[in-house]
Symmetry: C2
Subunit: 264 residues, 2 copies
């Protein structure tokens, strides 16, 4: 049986309630094209596309948008040389690109979360999966120790911490991607009696400012920001493994980009 | 003549076209209250409010929202202990708090930008002020040198850099606060032939991912993220000096908070 892009996407979205609005889409690409190989990545960067071509993969499954926008807004990019060169590479390499964001987040538990927990070897500590957060009870340790553990497990060179490094924590909430925003993260601290939130990204004037006030009031609350890609790339690594189990005849690779930021 | 909150706010907003929609407001506070002293700050944190009380100031002029939200959305905070303790401090200390965000950004040039440029001693390099960006031609230096200069001038311990540290730059765009978003920042690189963007904050999947691709394509483009507060607090320091000139009889202080994040 020929495996098509459509068959892969059917498998990726199987069992998920159809979303009326979603950023997920195959573009460019045609459902009937035969899959030669798959690359999964946090972002379909120029490097990732080149790697896919080098690996003989003709389908890239990316979590974030190809052109630096969640809603794929390309206004102002039409004559941009970086945009044009990337668009030309995509066209000439004839890869299909499937943006796989919303549906993956609707796996039970969230597929991106599952990938992160797997990489942290923390699935055993989960006490509850909620749609946007997983609640964990970890062995009590200081925030400094948690930060070092996260860096080691995820192989990242830094994390950003709000609160005191000496804060003891055992009740932890993990939120991947941009769920570090105040509306999502702040209420959890009280409702779930969390000591620590570990998130991907969020506005700096929201959750970390709350933590600042909480600490100044003498409360043991802390926040570790991993970085957006750092929190979600493990999910795309997990997805590559999942696809490899489902389609053992296909070459399937997770491609990891360098961190987008370095600290100076 | 008695100086009231209303008189201060009248002065702060003088000559600015009235905005139909704005987050700026005096809350709590009464226009008729006599000003004893003013504290300006990036954020009216618990610490800043305590400092204002200690300094005998009864009016705090804050750039960001008091309760961790740009639109002052307090949903989910009603029973939050951090929120309640902060609200009680504000009520018992009887300070007035004036959120001064939109109008300050509409100064010509943007008051927040002016404060940052002053602290950087880079006003002399400005070639054009646009509403959301200032374009500079600085003496050619490497991104690494710019990063070190920014840290020294702003007295901050780190910046985040996308791109190569060895990139030479002389055409620089500066965007304060959350203007590091893709829609605002990316088109400038081409339109203004910028080598480097220096911004406060922005989504990680937008501008830095563009820079990643640009660099991978062999282009000399770079981005330095200062941090939101790091980019805007100098504007509130500048504002304190401006108010001191306008109201020399009043005690007026800029209060600086610790950085909200530390790097581990």
């Amino acid at each position: 049986m020929i495996l098509t892009f459509g068959r892969i996407i059917e498998q990726l979205t199987a069992g998920i309630h159809t979303l009326d609005r979603t950023v997920d889409k195959l573009e460019p690409g045609c459902m009937e094209t035969e899959v030669q190989g798959i690359v999964t990545a946090f972002s379909a960067s120029q490097y990732v596309i080149e790697q896919a071509v080098a690996l003989g993969a003709n389908l890239i499954v990316t979590h974030e948008g190809v052109f630096f926008s969640h809603q794929d807004n390309r206004e102002g990019l039409e004559n941009d040389p970086v945009y044009k060169q990337k668009a030309e590479l995509i066209a000439s390499s004839r890869v299909g690109i499937y943006r796989f964001h919303d549906y993956l987040h609707r796996y039970t538990p969230d597929g991106v979360m599952k990938g992160l927990l797997r990489e942290l070897e923390w699935e055993k500590y989960v006490t509850q999966h909620q749609p946007h957060v997983s609640i964990l009870t970890i062995p009590t340790m200081e925030v400094r120790e948690v930060a070092e553990y996260l860096k080691r497990q995820l192989q990242i060179s830094y994390v950003r911490v709000a609160g005191k490094l000496s804060t003891s924590c055992c009740r932890v909430g993990i939120l991947v991607g941009y769920r570090g925003s105040g509306a999502t993260a702040i209420p959890l601290l009280e409702q779930e009696s969390l000591d620590l939130i570990i998130a991907g990204e969020g506005p700096e004037w929201e959750t970390p400012e709350y933590i600042r006030d909480a600490v100044h009031q003498g409360r043991n609350k802390a926040l570790i920001m991993l970085g957006h890609a750092e929190s979600e790339a493990p999910g795309m690594n997990y997805l590559a493994d999942l696809l490899s189990l489902q389609f053992p005849e296909l070459p399937i690779h997770f491609v990891k980009d360098e961190p987008v930021y370095q600290i100076v």
